[in-house]
Chain length 233, copies 2
DNA sequence: TCCCGTCTTTGCGCTGGCGCAAATAACTAA
DNA sequence: TTAGTTATTTGCGCCAGCGCAAAGACGGGA
């Protein structure tokens, strides 16, 4: 599928870019398709490219030396990822890995090219800074959540966040469908497969979600919000 | 105390700025002194200024609705803080509060002025992006730490990090002195006052730190690293 | 010097959440 | 349809870390 300048307009970082800019970017980029469970890049690779996801879904994750991993973020179509290497002129490496959750395609843009574009186009630099700022704020909020809240609240929050970012409406049942395994949710919330399973089962018993294999359907978002916001005890 | 352009040279974000730039910045800023335990700004305030700490020590912290708080970062002299509002042209608010740990003075620079400087000086924008990138990476690493590591390892890591950022060498004892209460350390590691106290007492018994009221002296950094890196069990 | 507020230590009991193990359940390919 | 693979559920035991309470230790101010 050919990607056009007008498609790139929906990328937040490119919202102020001119058509000319976007065409230049397209000329200096290639598309890469990765099948489900493959990697666009691994943690520690040289950050030679930044990516715009054009289809599919990707998770950014970080592993510790033991191999335990945490999910930092999931990327939906037309979001940028792998951009942290731009500011450095040399030798930056990706601080996280990007693994596909389904067959995915992305536009790969040379980091050095993007950097040179931003040198003469301040609005591009500001838009990228805005993205970084938003990301910092999200990480701070999640850090606080992990430090101060119980697993139950963290899982409820994660589902709410996912519903906003990647959920799809299910027509007849008026629910929001999420495609994540118990393990995925555990990695997002700093918990375990078992605890997440027990929580989801309990919530299904209470009737405000429906669960399936690698599927969670939110039936009553309001009840989740109530759990997420519940004060201690 | 008069602040000169050459003083600002040690600010990482200003490392490529010209003397002329630095003087312009000085002309568009004021100094603010805040006594111990006071605030440069609170979470949610309009982000009208960004700050360069010139003396003292400041912590950035975030509170949840219950009032529990987490320490995101401590700021030492000549570090920039409160800069997240720059990229947005309007209505940004500080996502965290900045409270002094001792009597402190900072240079307050108008966010809008700094933004206009960066529009014509790409190197400034890149240096700020570098700072944001470093901060994102630190937050990601700490998030992973919180999600996957035990309290013991997180506290050891926090002490190591603090030693690098704010520690002062103690001559005769060849130790690194940190000035933080048990509560401070607990808020940095997502733990509690009690657990931190028990850990520090144990480590003192083993002889690789020395503790006092709001003081921790690291005698054998290597032993802390060993604890921080220890694999499970 | 003494007082008072703040910080720290430590005993004690409790429990949220972990993680093994084993049984299902749900998909996939042939 | 069947076999093989992967995801999920749930019983069970366990323990790291929480948090109260009470007793010290420290340090600044008058």
């Amino acid at each position: 599928m050919e990607i056009l300048a007008k498609d790139l307009k929906q990328v937040v970082v490119f919202q102020h870019a001119t058509d000319n800019d976007l065409n230049l970017i397209l000329q200096n980029s290639i598309t890469r398709s990765i099948e489900e469970s493959g990697f666009f890049f691994h943690q520690g690779d040289d950050a030679k490219f930044l990516y715009i996801l054009t289809s599919g879904q990707v998770k950014l994750m970080q592993s510790n030396p033991n191999g335990q991993q945490v999910n930092l973020r999931t990327i939906a179509a037309w979001q940028m990822f792998g951009a942290l290497g731009i500011a450095q002129s040399d030798g930056a490496t990706y601080p996280a890995a990007a693994q596909t959750l389904e067959d995915s395609t992305a536009l790969a843009i040379q980091s050095t090219f993007m950097r040179s574009m931003m040198e003469t186009r301040p609005y591009l630099a500001f838009d990228l800074m805005n993205l970084m700022t938003a990301y910092i704020q999200e990480m701070q909020a999640r850090y606080r959540e992990l430090a101060t809240e119980k697993v139950e609240q963290r899982v409820a929050n994660a589902l709410i966040r996912l519903a906003g970012q990647t959920g799809t409406k299910v027509g007849k049942e008026a629910g929001i469908l999420l495609s994540f395994s118990r393990q995925d949710v555990a990695e997002m919330t700093g918990s375990t497969l078992y605890t997440v399973s027990r929580l989801l089962s309990e919530w299904e018993r209470q009737g405000f979600i429906k669960t399936g294999r690698e599927k969670i359907t939110i039936l009553k978002p309001h009840d989740l919000v109530r759990i997420a916001d519940r004060l201690e005890k």
